[in-house]
């Protein structure tokens, strides 16, 4: 018990420094029950959530090191680092081998030196005589007005670190200090601001340890040792995403599978649209029923029939070992059927998986609303002295766990869709069905929770998370 308390305090502190800790989810709902294999969590992943200032510090450290190692200005070091994806070791190695070539590959020096322009003070871009011509390493010289216009056109097009020289066939890129000094001379402070924001974004996106949080309007930057397909929970905007591909987290499916699946869903969106119904008829008394919660276990308000929202089958068949609702039964003879029948079968198969995928997505949204409702109810109950706030906390935890398990469940469907037939798939479908039944059982109970159902719910929480981890541990490729 003593240790648990200390751990809790740590968790609170962790919030402050935004470490991606999942401790809460794996803490035993009941201290008497012990989990033994939680340390082997295949999804655990160490990362930090950085503010802009912290990212700048991180980048500047690399820049400073670079300036010392090879004798260049901070601006050129930045350009070099960016063009080498911030791989300092590679830069140092190439520098030892051939410093000249390094600067050419890094787009700082030109591969061939420009011939001198014939007429002395003429800028060949605007065809005007001017007092001074400016330029960088490649010796292409142009007037300040032209440089400024060039930068303006590029920046407004969203180009920043990739702004090139105006010379014909010149490979040199413009270092930050040169761009900024020209913009400053021409009083382009707004443009200058925009340029700095763009370069910053560009540096981050080329950095192997950094990723922008994909959440809407979120400025958080995630830092981790390597671009692995692991889950990041942004504490700032509550988005959950994959650190490798930057889209919604997708275990047990891998990045390629989920990309393929999402493209397929987008391509077939019209075909799939008709199935996203919000009402269905009770299979017994035919009364129209609207799905208002997340749970697939429906109870008809009129005749009391328990049925499954997905397959409209009897719910009693879903609670047992033989939960088969999640498993697609392929026609075993399909190879011998006509091309037309095969196409129909392919569509049927896709719709089966898509429907379950979309339904869990929908349930996640409904359960989110439900949890808000429950939070309100808890407040009321606490005010009317029906239990204390602590007594009811288990329900919030249960809701959070349910969300996580259903989320994994949602992503088991694209995974299964692309799986080849065989023993592996059978094991996967078995574990998926197990998780499916545990998720629905927990969801059903949460929607109907009372104070004395705590023990029941906590048992179900234990079961559902164990099943989720079993599946993820078995099928998540790490």
């Amino acid at each position: 018990m003593e240790e648990r308390k200390i751990k809790k305090m740590d968790d609170n502190e962790m919030e402050e420094c935004d470490m991606g800790s999942d401790e809460d989810y794996y803490n035993d709902p009941d201290p008497d029950v012990t989990h033994t294999d939680n340390d082997k969590d295949p999804e655990s992943f160490e990362y930090k959530i950085l503010e802009v200032v912290e990212v700048e510090m991180l980048l500047n450290t690399s820049v400073e090191t670079m300036c010392k190692t090879i004798d260049v200005s901070p601006s050129l070091a930045k350009l070099l680092l960016h063009n080498y994806s911030w791989n300092t070791q590679k830069i140092e190695a190439e520098y030892r081998q051939n410093p000249e070539q390094l600067l050419i590959n890094g787009k700082i020096k030109p591969s061939k030196i420009a011939k001198g322009v014939s007429r002395k003070n003429e800028c060949i871009v605007c065809a005007q005589e001017v007092d001074t011509l400016l330029g960088v390493e490649c010796r292409h010289r142009f007037c300040e007005t032209c440089w400024c216009q060039h930068f303006e056109v590029q920046i407004l097009n969203g180009v920043s670190t990739a702004i090139g020289c105006m010379g014909t066939d010149c490979t040199v890129l413009m270092p930050e200090d040169f761009v900024l000094s020209i913009l400053r001379c021409r009083n382009q402070s707004k443009l200058s601001q925009q340029y700095q924001e763009l370069t910053f974004r560009s540096y981050v996106s080329n950095h192997p340890e950094l990723l922008y949080c994909p959440g809407p309007n979120c400025t958080a930057v995630i830092q981790a040792k390597a671009k692995e397909a692991k889950r990041v929970d942004c504490k700032k905007c509550k988005t959950t995403f994959c650190f490798k591909c930057g889209i919604d987290y997708h275990a047990p499916a891998d990045c390629d599978t989920i990309k393929k699946w999402l493209i397929k869903c987008a391509d077939d969106s019209e075909t799939a649209n008709y199935i996203s119904a919000h009402t269905k008829d009770c299979p017994k008394c035919q009364v129209c029923i609207e799905k208002d919660g997340g749970c697939n276990h429906m109870k008809c308000k009129k005749c009391g029939h328990d049925f499954c929202w997905m397959c409209l089958g009897d719910w009693s068949a879903h609670g047992s070992e033989y939960y088969e609702c999640s498993k697609y039964k392929e026609n075993p003879n399909i190879a011998n059927e006509s091309e037309h029948a095969q196409a129909r079968e392919a569509l049927k198969k896709y719709l089966f998986y898509f429907e379950r995928w979309a339904n869990h997505d929908n349930s996640l949204r409904k359960e989110k609303d439900k949890m808000k409702e429950i939070a309100k109810q808890i407040e009321e109950k606490v005010t009317t002295k029906d239990g204390t706030w602590i007594d009811w906390q288990y329900l919030n935890k249960a809701g959070e766990l349910l969300r996580r398990c259903r989320y994994t469940l949602q992503y088991t469907y694209p995974y299964a869709y692309y799986m080849l037939k065989g023993a592996r798939k059978e094991l996967f479908e078995y574990q998926q069905a197990q998780l499916e039944s545990a998720v629905e059982a927990l969801s059903y109970d949460i929607e109907r929770a009372v104070l004395d159902s705590r023990g029941d719910i906590e048992n179900k929480m234990d079961v559902v998370e164990k099943r989720r981890l079993t599946l993820v541990r078995e099928f998540l490729v790490t």
């Binding site: 871009v125 605007c126 065809a127 032209c146 216009q149 060039h150 056109v153 020289c165 105006m166």
Partner: protein
């Protein structure tokens, strides 16, 4: 038109007119209706290509931000080339996109287009049908391109064209009256009459 753009274009005109290429009748540049924002270019099909001797007219639009953005150029003369759309004349060439540099001129552009006619880049195609033919049936590609040069660009005629004209006539007799569509259909289908007919049917 901005000041810089106008000064530049005027200067470029002088440059092109004085150039050797103009003296050798390889390239030409003139304004459309006294207006420097819309120009007409002309290039001659380079020797040892299917386009040899053909005259190709180009539509050139100078953007407000010229020369910081590239001119917008397309072929007005129809041409059979992997990097140029056989339907719209749109061109896929790096210096007309992100590889443009403000120091480049219309003369650079015209000469680059001539170079493109000599050396196609089928792996970066604008017209996928042409590019496929270029790779899979290089002989058919060459004779098709020179047929187009003869029909649309006043290039000289050769022996092979009799066979092509025969097929065009056969399609016409089947009731396909539009000449350009007939040429496109046969060219796209490697001059297979049956396939071209199916291509033309709605």
């Amino acid at each position: 038109m901005s000041n810089i753009a106008l000064t530049r274009i005027q200067r470029e005109f002088k440059e092109v007119i004085k150039s050797d290429e103009v003296k050798n009748c390889q390239i030409k540049l003139e304004p459309f209706e006294d207006n420097f924002t819309h120009l007409k270019g002309e290039i001659i099909g380079p020797p040892d290509t299917p386009y040899q001797g053909g005259k190709y007219t180009l539509d050139i639009v100078i953007p407000e931000t010229y020369p910081f953005n590239p001119p917008k150029v397309k072929f007005l003369t129809k041409i059979w080339h992997p990097n140029i759309s056989s339907q719209t004349g749109a061109i896929c060439l790096d210096i007309l996109k992100d590889q443009w540099a403000a120091a480049m001129t219309l003369r650079t552009v015209l000469l680059s287009l001539q170079a493109l006619m000599s050396a196609a880049e089928p792996d970066d195609p604008q017209d996928a049908v042409v590019a496929t033919q270029f790779k899979q049936h290089p002989e058919i590609f060459r004779s098709t391109a020179s047929f187009w040069a003869y029909v649309y660009a006043e290039a000289p005629r050769n022996e092979k064209m009799k066979e092509y004209e025969e097929k065009l006539k056969q399609l016409q007799e089947m009731g396909f009256h539009e000449k350009n569509s007939r040429i496109t259909a046969l060219s796209s289908k490697n001059w297979d009459l049956q396939a071209a007919m199916e291509f033309l049917l709605p």
